[in-house]
């Protein structure tokens, strides 16, 4: 068995886990099911990852993009910062809706996994929070409670149409990334009473 094979099995398990966790949740998905989907033996999750809980951590490490924080300047113009966040989250949401669904599920259920998720995601939200406050201080944005405004923006960004539930409500084809980003930026910046040019 070459190293390539080992990697291959691990990757297949990770991919199967992501797909199934998104469809059925962590609790609703069994190791047996994951391994069947991955074409691997039931014992291999324990062997390669050390159990189901650790598999979840490995899944985050594998699939979560740390691009945004690596290169961004926290002291940049706050309006540019808010817009950048909208663009990055929208791109992420479109690139990997399954991972977004998994994260939403863990947050809503308040599972023990939220700590692992926080480590990846909270730094980005802290930046957005800071930029929104700076924008208000400089008179560029206007809103009442920072917390209500912040949660409104996050809700706009994270809630998406990929859920089967909404299929009976929607009538148009999903827009491309650029269109989606532009329309969300408009909605959010106007909602925050941005006074400048979009």
């Amino acid at each position: 068995m070459s190293p390539a094979d080992e990697t291959d099995v691990k990757l297949r398990i990770l991919a199967a886990a992501k797909s199934l966790f998104a469809k059925q949740g962590f609790d609703g998905t069994s190791i047996r099911q994951i391994c069947e989907e991955a074409g691997a033996n039931v014992a291999l999750v324990s062997y390669h990852f050390g159990g189901k809980e650790n598999l979840f951590g490995a899944l985050l490490e594998s699939y979560f993009p740390n691009r945004l924080l690596a290169s961004v300047d926290p002291d940049m113009d706050p309006i540019a910062g808010v817009k950048l966040t909208i663009r990055e989250v929208t791109a992420f949401r479109q690139a990997d809706p399954q991972l977004v669904t998994i994260i939403q599920h863990e947050i809503i259920m308040n599972t023990p996994r939220i700590q692992k998720i926080r480590e990846h995601v909270i730094p980005m939200w802290r930046l957005l929070h800071k930029w929104m406050k700076e924008g208000r201080e400089r008179g560029l944005l206007r809103f009442g409670s920072i917390d209500t405004a912040f949660m409104s923006v996050v809700g706009t960004l994270l809630f998406h149409r990929k859920q089967e539930y909404w299929s009976v409500m929607l009538e148009e084809e999903p827009p491309d990334l650029e269109t989606m980003t532009r329309e969300l930026t408009e909605y959010i910046m106007l909602g925050l009473q941005y006074q400048g040019e979009l």
Copy 2:
């Protein structure tokens, strides 16, 4: 055993189920746990409701408020309709955050229960959808894709701070219902480029 006692046990089971489903989800909650919390015997869920799945249906019937649709005129002014929806959903969210969490969970997980949820909730969303389109046709609202705008509004309304996950981000005390409604109405109506007076 009087009828009052029967009702009492059923109500205690329903209340325990709501609380636990919100905290741990449907799959993550066992009948044993529900009955322990309710001070009832494990067999009574089967006896009174016919199983865990039917208990969920009974929970919706008991707790979901059908107030909005009963009295509303679908042909009312679309702007008033959108504002009414914002007010009612915000009030519901604040009055019964547990039920909102349960509904969000089922939607995100795409469980077999979404059909039961749809029966209660979709009519309201259809009205909001219709009012938003009418508002645009009459030149009162402006947005690109109706679906993107609709999902943005729904995301703003449904996403809320009651999740433990966000506690590390928030700094203010939760506002009262009136303040929350006013700020959400501002954010949403401005995001939809409403041209009139708020």
